[in-house]
Amino acid sequence: MNLPTDVPASGTESPAIAVPAPSPTIAFGAPEETPFHRIAADFAASRIALFGLALFALIVLCALFAPLISPQNPYDLAQLDVLDSRLEPGARSGDGKQVFWLGTDDQGRDMLSAIFYGLRISIGVGVTATLCALTLGLTMGLTAAFFGGRVDGFVMRIVDIQLSFPAILIALILLALLGQGIDKIIIALVAVQWAYYARTVRGAALVERSKEYMEAARCLALPASRIVFRHLLPNCLPPLIVVATVQVAAAIALEATLSFLGLGLPITEPSLGLLISNGFTYMLSGKYWISFFPGVALLATIVSINLVGDQLRDVLNPRLQR
């Protein structure tokens, strides 16, 4: 039996001719590419989404640095002069010191400054409410998915009931009971929104729960809390992030609506909605700028968030991944 010398009988022997050792093949991408890098790279593939992100970043910066960049503090009554009220965009103040780039409202407040401060309130309320609702909804959704059975049924029925009411209705009732104030608004927004997160997380958790890496974790006798928080939760985040992003916009819009209706924040802390509401009576008399510019700011905020959210949804959707 002639065994050829250059074909090894078993693959574990080293070949007679020197062959460079095969390097471990990496599927794609540079070393140390975390899942975050991949998501960021996919996200950046869309110019529209990048534009949305840039716009939102700009808006957030304006909101954060409002006291520094505003020509005027619109809530400091000492700085206001009622004789400056209802001036057109580009007009000068009576004493000649300021230019009101976007005009003034009926109290003499500079619209540009008011918008910056208003953005602060709107975004602040929107983001805080979203974070609180997310935490509450996440806890409820994970609990429902992990324990299943009656717990699941109970939580989901509450969610169903909650979601069958129009958001405005629930918010109005709550605010009527609680009164005005920033904390009351946030409570109302959280009460309206937590159900979306609970439902989303529960769905994702149910899918992930049946995957083999969860079985492996059980096989390794890991404690239940560890499995839920270190294994289940991080993998339920993608759909949650998408919902949260869009819901921030919805929260801002809802708060603006409530303020517009006069039920939201008090006049001392005007958000964009309140600004729009203030100027509404002047729309038909030609002094459009009092409502219009806050409206544009609100629109830009919500659109930019939605653009980011749309691209995130596509990027984080596992089915669309190559």
Binding site: M1, N2, L3, P4, D6, V7, P8, A9, S10, G11, T12, P15, A16, I17, V19, P20, P22, P24, T25, I26, A27, F28, G29, A41, A45, R322
Partner: protein
């Protein structure tokens, strides 16, 4: 000599991705005669599925066919307009996928789908089309076809669904059928049934068949000719007896040697060292070089596919008869 049903020459399908160009199919040529079965064998990343998709024109961006000739009974498929493709697909060329739910619409009844397939290509009445559908189901061995016609796909088992998919593929008596791993996900006993049906149908109707798979044993029983693919290229081509009994290319040899039935039970299997290279980072020269015990410096330049008798092999050091180890 009659024209081959399918002629593929120099086919190149490349994917232009963010990380670089993936040459999924890189210079593939073969012909298939009427009534013959060609086995296209390879592992993941070899390009066998993409070859099938390229022939039937289903390559989506970021991929496209950059070069090559594809002729169906002499007709140039690359020159077809989308409207002409509509007429050809399902009528002259059909495809069977690994997952039958890629063929079957879950919300439509089976008879609706089959009648649709018939009437898209022939001006017949609905009753006539239904009759043809019924015959097609009988031909693929589905019992009680009248009941099955009014059922929905989810009411069938996996094997049945695949048979319905095959029936749809064959209903218009196409010249060529491309089958992409149709039995990989099915049980052995069901696979046996489907192989029996497909073989019978091809012999009877003169349809040419390309069977794409990684399972050499299925090819052994089914195919007439075999092409072995690696990293987007054909590395060996010949009749099934030639390739399986006396493989020329070290990769083919390695694949055959690693099958458990060719090894002594309990002993370590003979294995091909290393891994398939990423198509983004192919080694210089022969793509199999880094895993091949016969590699020399000549292998740093790309070997062409050249004839050896009536066979073809892409290797500078093919295994000749005198090197042969007796089969265990």
């Amino acid at each position: 000599m009659s024209e081959p049903t399918l002629k593929v020459a120099g086919l190149r399908t490349h994917f232009f991705t963010r990380h670089g160009v993936v040459k999924a199919v890189d210079g593939v040529s073969f012909t298939v005669e009427p009534g013959k079965i060609l086995g296209l064998v390879g592992e993941s990343g070899s390009g066998k599925t993409m070859t099938g998709f390229s022939i039937i024109g289903l390559v989506d961006p970021p991929g496209r066919i950059v070069e090559g000739e594809i002729r169906l009974k002499g007709r140039d498929l690359r020159a077809l307009a989308p409207a002409e493709w509509q007429a050809v697909r399902g009528d002259r060329i059909a495809m069977i996928f690994q997952d039958p739910m890629m063929t079957l619409n879950p919300v439509l009844r089976v008879d609706t789908q089959m009648i649709e397939a018939v009437r898209a290509h022939a001006a017949v009445s609905a009753e006539a089309a239904r009759e043809r559908a019924r015959e097609a189901l009988v031909r693929v061995g589905i019992p009680s076809p009248d009941e099955r016609l009014v059922a929905y796909p989810h009411q069938f088992s996996g094997g049945m669904r695949q048979r319905v998919a095959i029936a749809i593929a064959l209903i218009n008596k196409p010249d060529l059928v491309i089958a992409d791993e149709p039995t990989t996900a099915l049980d052995v006993t069901i696979q046996g049934q489907i192989l029996a049906e497909v073989q019978k149908l091809c012999r009877e109707s003169g349809t040419a068949l390309i069977w794409i798979t990684h399972d050499l044993a299925v090819i052994a029983g089914l195919a007439d000719e075999v092409c072995v693919m690696y990293a987007g290229k054909i590395v060996e081509r010949g009749t099934v007896n030639q390739v399986l009994d006396s493989p020329l290319h070290p990769y083919t040899r390695g694949l055959l040697d690693s099958v458990p039935s060719r090894n002594r039970p309990g002993a370590p299997l003979r294995q091909i060292p290393g891994m398939t290279p990423s198509l983004l980072r192919l080694p210089e020269g022969c793509a199999f070089r880094e895993r091949c015990a016969r590699a020399t410096e000549t292998c740093l330049s790309e070997p062409p596919l050249y004839p050896l008798g009536d066979r073809q092999v892409r290797c500078f050091h093919p295994i000749h008869a005198e090197d042969e180890e007796p089969v265990v």
